[in-house]
């Protein structure tokens, strides 16, 4: 009797231990979960960069707000025509299309939030929620609270926080559940829509600061194509990579020169401010800029029409 009890206890213990260990390695969820949607994209790729390295890179530049914040900070007025229409969201019928769309629409939501266009926010969060549910990351998108904040036009800081942190949690969950391939697509969508917004602003009215920011995206684009190559055995990824390589060609002549300086710390209005003092010179010609604007527009419009 005692032997049997001890044996059962041992089995329970081992099960608990294995659950604990598996949770440590994968805090975001179980990749074998039957509820996790089967990807239409090939995950059986020969990964030459470690997953941790990929995740670090992806996580470092996925921000759905910053380009819009810069555009707003420079006093550029809001323009609804830059946004991706939400009417054809039902046509995003594969995980590939859904992931790209999640990124693009999240960047548009960031643009709307930065300009406090709360009346249009509800439309975007409705579509984002639907896509996020399809990708099994909808649990991180608090639709009801976001809708209440947007509808009542109240506490806009909370609306911004919740929108951005929901995006990061969804993206992180994809990576933690071994769906880095989809996360790469989300991040590509965010980045491309940010670039699209910037290029459309400059197309309408030249702006040196934004042109410079567009030129600096050369390095990000290089990282992005490097990651997409890892998954390029899949035809969808290969096509996307080909498009972004065309954009890389448009960026070829853009030169970025860095001169190092020594950072200085100052106290301003009781706040500690560090001035970097490095000098970065972005050399981008008008012809190169036009080429980048046109190529970005072509790729982005192709992706939202998939």
């Amino acid at each position: 009797m005692m032997k049997r009890f001890f044996y059962v206890l041992f089995l329970c213990g081992m099960s608990l231990l294995s659950v604990t260990l598996s949770t440590c390695g994968n805090s975001g969820g179980n990749p074998e979960d039957p509820d996790t949607p089967k990807d239409d994209v090939d995950t059986n790729t020969n990964v030459v960069i470690s997953e941790g390295a990929i995740n670090d890179i992806i996580g470092s530049f996925s921000n759905p707000v910053e380009m819009a914040a810069l555009i707003n900070d420079l006093g550029v007025p809001f323009s609804k025509k830059f946004l991706t229409p939400t009417d054809n969201a039902d046509e995003y019928d594969t995980n590939f299309k859904k992931s790209i769309a999640l990124g693009i629409l999240s960047a548009d939501l960031g643009y709307l939030n930065v300009y406090n266009k709360t009346s249009s926010v509800v439309n975007y969060i409705t579509v984002i929620k639907r896509i996020a549910d399809d990708l099994k990351v909808g649990q991180f998108f608090d639709f009801q609270t976001l809708k209440r904040l947007a509808t009542n036009n109240e506490n806009l800081d909370s609306l911004m926080f919740l929108s951005v942190s929901s995006f990061h949690q969804m993206d992180q969950h994809l990576r933690e559940t071994k769906r880095s391939n989809l996360s790469v697509l989300v991040v590509t969508g965010v980045w491309l829509e940010g670039l699209y917004l910037a290029t459309q602003v400059v197309k309408e009215k030249p702006n040196d600061k934004i042109s410079e920011r567009i030129g600096e995206q050369k390095n990000i684009l290089s990282s992005l194509t490097g990651i997409l190559k890892v998954f390029s055995k899949d035809k969808n990824f290969a096509d996307l990579l080909k498009d972004l390589q065309e954009l890389q060609t448009a960026y070829e002549g853009v030169k970025i020169t860095i001169v190092q300086g020594t950072p200085e710390t100052k106290i301003e209005n009781g706040k500690v401010v560090v001035y970097q003092k490095d000098v970065s010179i972005v050399d981008i010609s008008q012809e190169q800029l036009i080429n980048i604007i046109n190529t970005t527009e072509k790729i982005r419009n192709k992706l939202i029409a998939l």
Binding site: S158, P263, V274
Partner: protein
């Protein structure tokens, strides 16, 4: 035999409990840290958070949480750090890269770009500093206990906000 069984059970419970309680900060702390009262004339925009779980340091072996972040030229960013009550003032957030590494040296004298506390270890107001970025690229953020302050495991959350193009 009973003693062995009880010891085994207690052992498993301790193991499970310690793994569960060693975790990131709760979303409530992230929220309050990201939506702190604003200074007049400023409108910081939350960009992302760095939620760090920190083990109790063993001797000189300190636990450091590191994150990559891309920052852009011509933009002023704000970094601020928040802790749960039990570890308030005990952690530090550092901004660095390969050219300005995460070390003990002062800012501008071979040290990193910025820290949320001064060289004397005292936190800056709101455990925060602004960084006027002049070179777009990949930077790193580390969060760790200040020297000799990590008496037990805890968590800390850093917030990155967009301040504007700077002056």
């Amino acid at each position: 035999m009973n003693r062995i069984i009880i010891t085994l059970l207690v052992g498993f419970l301790v193991l499970i409990n310690s793994e569960e309680s060693f975790s990131q900060c709760k979303q409530q702390l992230v929220y309050s840290c990201a939506t702190q009262p604003k200074t007049a004339g400023e409108n910081p925009i939350y960009l992302r958070d760095f939620n760090a779980k920190l083990r109790k340091p063993k001797g000189d072996d300190e636990d450091v949480a590191r994150f990559q972040v891309v920052l852009n030229k011509g933009t002023r960013y704000r970094f601020n750090l928040c802790n749960p009550e039990e570890s308030e003032g005990k952690t530090v957030l550092t901004l660095f890269d390969a050219t300005r590494p995460d070390n003990e040296k002062p800012i501008g004298k071979g040290g990193p770009y910025g820290r949320t506390c001064g060289d004397d270890g005292k936190d800056y107001p709101n455990a925060s500093f602004d960084f006027q970025c002049e070179r777009s690229g990949v930077y790193y953020v580390s969060i760790k206990f200040k020297k000799g302050q990590g008496d037990k495991k805890s968590c800390a959350v850093g917030i990155l906000s967009f301040i504007g193009k700077g002056k």
